[in-house]
């Protein structure tokens, strides 16, 4: 049985479509990744699923309850870790967990036992009585994950769980997410714009762009759609080379992306000499060539013609300028 099921879920803000007729299902017990660039509609989708935003049209069921008509029932079944920290920094870690437990109506016995359990799960037992304002960014995240689990939710929603964390902390958070999925059997719905994260964590991933769901599959399956190997080359006359290569039967797909040519092939290492030969015989100069296994970024590129990474840097720089 699927634990999340959306039905043409749509959200418009002043006529702008943020989420556009999205349909997907999440199976009980899996880690489901929602991958897309900033502004793709990930957070809006999560906010609708956790009942903080009302859909403009369409609806969804979470743990069997309708997100519009049965808000309180949905709220009882879910845990949420928001994109921005949502802790009371004037309270200690333990007090934050206690606050949460009482808001969800846990009994005293349940509360005391559960606080010990979840603190242990994220290795914060010895920091439990420190004020949260003295926590590091990674510790805050871990505490929030622990808090999301306090009331035994059926689904845990994680909105960009490792945003702004350094690589080491990120790896630790990934370990905790895997662990709680395995040990507690909690279904996890996570959004991210880091493809490594979606790749490493998700059992299945959905790619979303401009509010539209493009494709849902296992990360392996997604990458297989792009091809076995990808060859990226820069040369003098790209259009000509593209035309020639398109006729070769071993070339599965060829595209011009930015200032380079992208080919999907099988056994790429054997094809490189071949490509160089073809280029030389037609007088085209190859300036660089590389071979790599497809990543989810290549999958995104395949479906949208753009890379997630480039957009991210542009956006962050733009955002930085805006702030000043």
């Amino acid at each position: 049985m699927s634990i999340i099921e959306t039905n043409n879920l749509t959200k418009k803000f002043n006529g702008l479509v943020a989420v556009d007729n999205v349909n997907f299902e999440v199976e009980e017990g899996e880690i489901f990744g929602f991958l897309g660039p900033n502004g793709a509609g990930k957070t809006t989708t999560i906010k609708m699923l956790i009942t903080l935003l009302r859909p403009t049209s369409g609806t969804a069921r979470v743990a069997g309850f309708d997100i519009v008509k049965e808000r309180n029932r949905v709220r009882e079944c879910i845990g949420v870790v928001f994109q921005e920290p949502a802790l009371d920094t004037e309270l200690t870690g333990r007090e934050n967990l206690d606050f949460h437990a009482r808001m969800y109506g846990l009994s005293r016995v349940e509360r005391e036992k559960r606080i010990v359990d979840v603190l242990q799960l994220v290795d914060l037992t010895d920091k439990a009585d420190v004020l949260v304002k003295n926590y590091s960014g990674g510790m805050k995240r871990r505490l929030e994950i622990a808090r999301g689990l306090m009331h035994y939710p059926k689904v845990l929603f994680l909105d960009e769980p490792t945003l702004g964390l350094d690589a080491q902390t990120r790896n630790a958070i990934w370990r905790y997410i895997k662990r709680l999925n395995k040990e507690e059997g909690t279904t996890i719905f996570l959004t991210t714009h880091y493809m490594e994260e979606a790749d490493y964590l998700s059992d299945r991933a959905a790619i979303i762009d401009h509010g539209r769901l493009l494709v849902v599959d296992k990360p392996e399956g997604l990458k297989n759609r792009v091809g076995k190997d990808l060859i990226n080359l820069k040369c003098s006359n790209m259009r000509n080379l593209k035309k020639i290569l398109e006729k070769e039967e071993w070339v599965e797909n060829v595209k011009i992306v930015d200032s380079s040519l992208l080919l999907s092939v099988k056994h790429g290492e054997e094809k490189i000499p071949h490509i160089i030969e073809i280029a030389q015989s037609t007088g085209i100069k190859i300036t660089s060539i590389d071979l790599h296994k497809p990543t989810l970024d290549d999958v995104f590129l395949y479906y949208t013609g753009r890379r997630i990474r480039e957009q991210e840097t542009e956006r962050t720089i733009a955002a930085r300028f805006r702030r000043h």
Binding site: R75, F82, P85, D88, D98, H100, G105
Partner: protein, 264 residues
Amino acid sequence: MVLIKKSELQAIYIMWIRQLKRFVRAKSRIISTIIQPLFFLVFLGLVLNNMIKLPASSGNLQFLDFFAPGIIAMGIMFSSMMAGVSVLWDRQFGFLQEVLVAPVSRFSIVIGRTAGGSTTALIQGFIMLIIAMAVGFKISSFSGLLLGIVFMILMAFIAVGFGLALSSIMKDFQGFQLIMNLILMPAIFLSTAFFPVEYYPSFLKILVYINPITYCIDGLRNSLTLLSGYPYIILPVSLDLLISIVVCIAMMGIGSYLFSKSEV
């Protein structure tokens, strides 16, 4: 009347406890909220007390007996309005989302907020009352004190409701200072907190009379100095009470309506 579930009571309780903990831990805030009225009472109150002689009919009462309830009321209202507005802080720091996504009704959230905010405001009110008594303010009777506490609670609720409404309309801190200066300060100045209504010029008198806070302060003054023949009382205490209750219900209603309507 809908019965409140046990789990809702627990949620209200923990929201109340949270605000008390935050209050006790923010030492600088406690000090500043006590220092300001202390300065008003001592530097302003004691000097005015020597300067202003009351009519002979007022017996052994002095100007401080008029002034102190006004200052206490001002302190309570400022503090509880800040508690209502602190929803803005929670919104800014993301904590509001944690509260809103919990399976707790919006009504209980408003009740928890109000309980927390008015409790801390009343604690400050009592500290000010003790300071006032230390510098010479006299409470007429124990029953007068009890009635005074009722007025203090009503004032706190009104101000929390006002703060909640403000924080639901405003999405950030911009304009907050403006609202403070443009609404709260005039409302206090035009409420007989500092001066008897007799001394306002006639065009301001109208504003004093239509200002609901006037009657809360009049009621507090009335009850703390009850039956001791104090001049400058506007209405009988029962009418003050009636007006204050009506304003309180209206303000709380507006505050919780706007809060429940606002999205994250």
